[in-house]
Structure formats: structure tokens, C-alpha cells
Symmetry: C2
Subunit: 525 residues, 2 copies
């Protein structure tokens, strides 16, 4: 398939007419063709109009039909073959094996949501039958199900050109919920976006769905995205990216005449707590494993371990020494874009220039453009508690080790943290009580709490929470990864005394869809 | 129990030091003693501090203990006996039978949430066990449960001094979720608030819970409520009241350094659609039943039928004639407060003065202060579509009949409406296709869609949705009545590879709480 650089608006392809997006291979600095001219507000409005037209029909597709559509999207993406891998590698600087793995995850995610849609638990059907003889007042017949919120705007991330982009988690969960999707393509990988967008467009056509179920808009600036969030036909949005960008769009979503849910996954420094026995028994091994997690993918993960907390002393010194040694020899990997590389250098300089911070190691200089030279710093617990600049996220392979005087100060550091995606305990059996003392704080601060692992790596499954208190996300009540993400795009509707013929199938007498409904307080099996 | 006019801050009673709230018997204009001096920002901060201190402990109470607490609150409220009924009648002007019924509903609601808490579905436990041999990568052990958001601020409504006030739905669902609650007492019924507040305070003590689980603050102005929403220890809020008040507090909640969920139930005109066959066969009976629903409780319900839509012609004329006749003889009932009565008169005058509107009937003048003289108006469909002033909610027994040219215009009126709590179809069998054509619009516009009933009357059960798209509420993804309301105050947390001894009981191996967990994609029975 040849890239054309066009917008995908419903079943059409349309040449944009604003400043073009130009992809750059960050490993070489080379400009990649074609150009992707930006969509106008009118293009955005047309996509939203089509999405709105498709909504009532798409949201009432049978679960089996919608599941088949999600599977067809996965098939079509796989059908793109090596062209997709090559383009995504060229646009992201990420290794081929990583992109292949990400394709597998993306398609697996679509198929997992197909299972969820078929299973039907997301409908959350509740039936309270009429009680005409109840005293003092009869009860009417009441039935509840979930319906889709409406067309959803999706803003993909730079760092997962497949799994958090055009057909990523936000799109998969919104489509699963019954919401048409309009994607604002990430300007770092417009060609990857077009390829995946065309795969979705083909799946919409193959499944005979209304064309407005999917559209894709390019823009090198902010205007198209802002128009998208402001459009009255958009009823929710998903975003993965920087805190600044997320908050700006979130704010726009709240200021609409009709505010909408805006799910922004923004920033997190993912604290790791080195508990005393673990630090004592395996400080060196932890230091090495930590650097491995820190420098993976040039540290360009929202779950990157950006803060490590321990009690000062020889064991923490040994950890820092091992980490510094590993990091000094660590490879400088290519970052996703020149802009991200600049921001990384700026963030590292800010730490290096902070007199409460001591630089303990930098990695190797790279031999090409946009290379991420890893960085490790140390600061005192009391300074992290009082200076919020020390909690700043540096997107990339930079981390701060926090040396605390005692366990009480470790706890105070934990309490002083902003909301996080993850919190990690490195613990041995002897650390159980110390872990127990920290756990209530960590649960309040993070969406995922783990032991003896590293936060990078997010499984797509039922139990995953990729979310957390503000500012990790804009809405801690949800997750953007895993099957529970479908609930972000649903709302309950109650039907009172409707004739059976008028009721949605899921709520009818006789349970024609075979759902596990809550009937008069009891779960049907 | 003698009223003291004090604030209830944890286990303490504290005399406020700002301008007092003074209750007025709206039926007589009489001032009721005592005075309730307002809480200062320092009082609010103290209540929030206690709530915060209580949070980690209260959120981890065993389901059985928390359920017993909710039942104890109900018992204590019933134990207030006639004193509660008398005070609530005096402060609200509502009839004794209505207040008795509302007490039954309030206590029934608390006991229903006790059942929900014990049942444990709200924990939504999901377990994805480790798969150490999975290729290409092993899977870690992942477990998810819901935990409480944090201390919750509750703003009660004027029109349900028991069921939507101190121990009303918001408080019951927040306490059920594991959230301490700080209530801002409604200034229309401070004595009722104190009585119920003392009942909750007594239940907290009897159950041995931390005192910060509940506090109650009075204020005659806005300051205490604003301080409450702005307090960083408050993590969510529930509100029932006017659109103006709700949006002001909602906006404050969004502007915090850490924005929080603010569940405002605000305004709704609850459209009723008179479909042709029903209108033809029983227009007169519908007109009479409509006025009965409209004037109930002086129309002071958020589900009051403020808009009735039909196709112009003799059948609609007969409906209007019957309604006008019933309304002309309808009693003028006492409104809740002088302020609400003034706002009602102002709203009715605005309709009467709108030259697109024709007044067809007013009810009897009352013979005391604050009486609601019912009002009925008629307008054309095209005017309702183009002039949003005709969609304004008039809180009280005022309604607008909308005469449309044809079914297409009825649909356009439906599409032009703002978000609603309810939408009603009056339909006969022959109206089935007409109803089917309207249903997708009504589902998009309202939280509850009903046939052949009237929107007033909200059952507290599993299937109820008392919510709806903006501006009916600030968050259409939830309900403020019924058992699903518990989900407003919860968030998911994922535990990865935690030792069993460190895991929350609900997520442990062996399922010690006997929950219906989702394990590896399968529901445990």
C-alpha cells in the first residue's frame, strides 16, 4: 500500500490543506515522504458529522457483529505485513523486534475486546420486575443497561506508535463500547497512522458498518485537535501524552457548553521503594536490574522508574554504585523525535543544575542524532518532600535516587508524591511489615502497586490498571489498558415499564442474549 | 433530643461563629429556633482533617462491619421518632405522611446499601494469575479490586430533607464505598440536618469507627461549602440542587490543583411525549393524570414533568383542556422556602411574558405565604426548537405543552432538548413504531425512559438510573439513586506479584471473602 498523506474521513480520502506534518527518522534525521497536509476545522467537522450519523446505528450493533469488526481490524492490521513494521521503525527509531511485539499486542488487544463485547458483562443489565401488589406502593418494572456515550476523540501517544495510537487501547475500548472514533494522528508517525487507519477503514467497509465509525485527521499544530475536542458531537476523549498537552485539552473539554469526560494519561515518575532487607541482601543486583528497566526503550515509557527511594547507608550506597556503574556503560538509544530529545536534555540539565541534587552517573554519548544519554541523580528525602521540582518527570532514561534518614522519612516522601501510575516495592520476607506500613499510602497514590518487579511492562488483561490519581491521569476511576477500559465510554440507561417489543434486546424478558443479569438482586448464572 | 444549633465535627459538637442559619416554617412564615451559627473555614478544615485521618482505616473495614454501620445509622434515625418528623414538617412545609414515607425510603436506602456492601460485587475483583511459562514473555500475577476515592463532600437538596440530605443517597453510597463524609447542611432544614447528623454521629460511636467518618457543617452563605470543595483532603463531592449552584461548585472542583469528581444533579424538565393513538384514545384522562403528577409536592421534584410534547389537533386540544380544567381547581401547596417561591414566581412570569407562549391556566391562589399557584402554558414546536428560554426549568408546578405540526417536528423537538433525568412516552399499542422512532433520541437525552407513567417517583433499587446527560447532571456515567451509585466513589487498584500476606483480603488466594471474582477471564460462581 502506498502512502498518500491524506486524511481518512469516513470512507473517503481527502487531501488536507494546512501546513503538512513531515515525519523524520530520528535515528538519521532524514525526512520521510510523503507530506501529510493538515486537516481544516471543516475537515474535523465533517468527520464528527459522519461519526454522529453513524452513532445510533453503530451503538446498537449486536455484540457478535461488533466483536467480528474488532477482529477484522486486527486481521487487516496484520495484513499490512512488513510495510507497517518498516514504516513504524523508520518513524520512531524503535527496534524492529519491539515494533513487531507492539503489533502483536495491538492486535491481541483488539481480539481481547472482541471477547469482552461478546461476553456482555459490560452491558451491566439489571432487572427489577414490577411488584404490583407491593405495599404501600406498587413497584414499576425497571431495567438498566449500559449504552455508548457517543463519538469519541482519540489522541495517540508518540511512544507506542501502534499500541497507544490509531488502533490502540483508547480506540479499541471506544469501538468496543459502541462509540465511533475520530483519531487525531500523532505527528511523530503519520505514515504509521495512515497505514493503520486504512486498515480500520477497510474493516468498516468489510463489516458493512456506517462509514462514520472511523476517521483520521492529521495536523502539524494544535488547531485540529482543539476543534475535535470542542465539537459538540464528540462526547468523550482519550489522550496519552504530556501533562501540558493533556491539561490543555482537558481544560478545553471542561469549558465546552456541554463538558465531556476527557481521559488523559499524562505523567508519572513511578517511585520504587527499596526496603531495608532487600536492599541489604541484593542491593547490587537491584542496581543493575534498575538500570536495565530505566534505559529500556531510552526510558520512553510512562511507567519508567524515575524515582528510587531508600534509607541512606552502605546498602543504598552499594545500590547507587552498581546502578552508576551499569549506567555509565549503558548504550545511548535513539529517542522518538528531536523534540523529545530536546526536552530530555532540558530536563536532565534542570536536575544537574539543582543544588539539592548530585549527579552520580551519565551514560555513553551516542554517535548519531537524538540519542538519549542516561542520567542518574541523588537527593535527600527532606529535599524531595519540600521541593516539587525534584518530582518533575523527565521523559527518558533519567532517574533520581532519594536517600532518606529513616523509615518515617520514606513514608513522608511517599505521602508527598503526586498521583502515579505505579508504585513498586523491592522487598524480602523480612520487609513484610515495612511493606504493610507503606501500602495504604501507595494504594492512595498509584493505580498499580507491585512487588519485586519493575514498572515498565503493562500486561493487557482483565486485572490491569493503567491509571491513577491526578496528575498521572485526569480520572483515577478508570484504566486505559485492560478490559475495564470499556467502561470509560458507557453510561447507564433505565427503562421503566417499556413494552417488551420496545426494550433493547439485552433487557428483554427471557434474556435472549443469555447474559448474567442482576434480577431482583440476584445474579443470573 | 434538644437541638443545640451546633456543628458536628467528628465526635465533637462545636458552636459555629459566623452568621447563623435560621429555619423558617414556610407554611406560616414563623422563624424556628434555635439558630445555627455558620462554620468557619477552620471548622471545615478540622472536619476534613478528621475525615482524612479516618480514611485509611474506614476504607478497610470488613464488608460486614461497614454494612452493620449503615444499618445502625438507619436504626438511629428511626430512633429519633416523631421529633424528626415534626421538625422536618415544620422546616419544609411538606405533609407529615410524605415525610414519614421519606424517612422509610431513607432508612430503606441505607439498608439496601448494607446488602450491597456485604455482597461485595462493588469490589469488582479480577485475578489474572501468573503464567511463568508463557511465550514469548511470562505473565506476572495481577489482581484488581476497587478502593474508596477518599473523603467525600455532600451537599443536600432542599426538596428531600431526609432522602437527599444528611443521610440521603449521596451519603449512603459514599459511606458504603468506604469514604468518610463531610456534609454541608442545607440551610432550609438545619434542625432536621442536626437530628439526622446526631444519629450518624451516634452510629459511628456505637460501631467503634474513627470519629472522622462523619461531620456536619452549617453555613448561611457560600463560604463553608466552597472551602469544603476546595479542601485538598476532599476527593469527591455529591450535590443536588440548582444548575447555578451546581455549576459554580463543579467549576471550583475542576479548578483545584487536583481536580476531583463532582457529581451534581442539577436541572431537568422531563419531557413527556404524547403519542398519537394514546392522545386520541385517552387525552382527557392523560390531562388529568398529568396535572396530578405536576402539582404533587408543589411540583418540587427534579423529575417534575415540565414539558409535554404532542402533535397539534383536536386530541391535543382535549388534553390541554382537561389539564387546564384540573389545574384551575388545583390546590396551591406550600413551597419549601420563600426563596424557592420567589424563584417560581419569577420563572412563571418569564414564561407568561414570552410572546411565543400562551398561558392556558393558573391554579388557585393560596391563602398563606409561599403558596405555589400552578401554571400551564402552550407553545409551538418550532419556537421550542429555536428559543432555548422555552426549555428553562421552573422549579415548581409549571409546565409547557408543545404543539408540533407532525411527528417529524416532535422528533426535532426531542433532538433540540438538553440532557434530562427522564423522558416519558404516553403510548398505546398502535404507537409502537412511533415510540421506536423516538427511542434512540430519548436514550441519548435521558437517564431513564419510561412508558405510560409519570416521571415523579424514583424507586431505590438496582436498576434505577437517576442521572442523565449534562446539564441534568455533571456526569452521565453514573446515577445518584440506586445501588449503582456506589461506583461513583470507587477507583480500581491493581496489585502485581504481591505476597499473599500483603494482598487485600478480597484478592487473596482461596477467595476468603467468597466473592464472585473474574479469574483468568472466567467468573467464579
Amino acid at each position: 500500500m502506498n502512502l498518500t498523506g491524506e486524511l481518512l474521513i469516513g470512507a473517503q480520502t481527502v487531501k488536507g490543506s494546512r501546513d503538512p506534518v513531515v515525519a523524520i527518522n530520528p535515528a538519521t534525521g532524514e525526512r520521510l515522504s510523503p507530506e501529510f497536509p493538515g486537516g481544516t476545522p471543516a475537515d474535523v467537522a465533517r468527520a464528527c458529522e459522519l461519526a454522529w450519523s453513524a452513532f445510533d446505528s453503530y451503538r446498537e450493533t449486536a455484540p457478535s457483529a461488533r466483536a467480528t469488526f474488532l477482529e477484522t481490524v486486527a486481521d487487516e492490521i496484520e495484513g499490512l505485513g512488513d510495510a507497517l513494521i518498516e514504516r513504524a521503525v523508520a518513524e520512531s527509531g524503535l527496534p524492529q523486534a519491539r515494533i513487531q511485539g507492539e503489533r502483536g499486542r495491538t492486535c491481541g488487544q483488539l481480539r481481547l475486546f472482541a471477547r469482552v463485547v461478546r461476553d456482555g458483562e459490560w452491558l451491566d443489565v439489571r432487572v427489577d420486575p414490577a411488584l404490583p401488589d407491593r405495599q404501600p406502593l406498587p413497584r414499576v418494572d425497571l431495567r438498566q443497561r449500559h449504552i455508548a456515550l457517543g463519538p469519541v476523540a482519540v489522541f495517540g501517544a508518540s511512544n507506542f506508535p501502534l499500541a497507544f495510537s490509531v488502533a490502540g487501547g483508547d480506540t479499541a475500548s471506544a469501538l468496543a463500547a459502541g462509540c465511533p472514533v475520530v483519531v487525531k494522528a500523532h505527528p511523530a508517525h503519520p505514515g504509521t497512522c495512515e497505514l493503520v487507519g486504512r486498515a480500520i477503514q477497510a474493516a468498516v467497509a468489510k463489516c458493512g458498518l456506517p462509514e462514520g465509525v472511523f476517521s483520521l485527521i492529521h495536523d502539524s499544530g494544535l488547531e485540529a485537535g482543539q476543534a475535535l475536542v470542542a465539537d459538540p458531537r464528540i462526547k468523550a476523549a482519550g489522550f496519552t501524552g504530556s501533562r501540558k498537552g493533556g491539561l490543555a485539552l482537558w481544560s478545553l473539554a471542561q469549558q465546552r457548553p456541554e463538558p465531556i469526560p476527557f481521559y488523559a494519561e499524562m505523567s508519572s515518575i513511578n517511585p520504587v521503594f527499596l526496603l531495608p532487607a532487600a536492599l541489604e541482601s541484593r542491593g547490587k543486583a537491584l542496581g543493575e536490574a534498575f538500570v536495565n528497566s530505566l534505559n529500556m526503550g531510552a526510558g520512553q515509557f510512562c511507567t519508567n522508574p524515575g524515582l528510587v527511594v531508600g534509607i541512606e547507608g552502605p546498602a543504598l550506597d552499594a545500590f547507587v554504585e552498581a546502578a552508576a556503574s551499569a549506567l555509565s556503560g549503558a548504550q545511548a538509544l535513539t529517542m522518538l523525535t528531536p523534540g523529545i530529545h530536546d526536552a530530555y536534555e532540558h530536563g536532565v540539565s534542570a536536575f544537574a543544575g539543582n543544588d539539592k541534587v548530585r549527579e552520580v552517573a551519565r551514560g555513553q554519548e551516542g554517535d548519531g542524532p537524538n540519542r538519549c544519554r542516561p542520567a542518574l541523580f541523588v537527593a535527600k528525602g527532606e529535599d524531595v518532600i519540600t521541593d516539587e521540582a525534584l518530582q518533575a518527570e523527565v521523559f527518558g532514561a533519567s532517574s533520581l535516587v532519594v536517600a532518606c534518614r529513616d523509615a518515617a522519612e520514606v513514608k513522608r516522601v511517599a505521602e508527598a508524591l503526586e498521583g502515579q501510575l505505579t508504585a513498586t516495592l523491592q522487598m524480602d520476607d523480612a520487609d513484610l511489615e515495612a511493606a504493610r506500613a507503606l501500602l495504604p499510602t501507595l494504594e492512595r497514590k498509584a493505580g498499580r502497586v507491585m512487588a519485586n518487579g519493575w514498572p515498565t511492562g503493562v500486561e493487557v488483561c482483565d486485572a490491569m490498571v493503567h491509571g491513577g490519581p491526578f496528575p498521572a491521569t485526569s480520572d483515577s476511576r478508570t484504566t486505559s489498558v485492560g478490559t475495564a477500559a470499556i467502561y470509560r465510554f458507557l453510561r447507564p440507561v433505565c427503562y421503566q415499564d417499556l413494552p417488551d417489543a420496545l426494550l433493547p434486546e439485552a433487557t428483554r424478558e427471557g434474556n435472549p442474549l443469555g447474559l448474567r443479569r442482576l434480577v431482583d438482586g440476584q445474579r443470573e448464572s
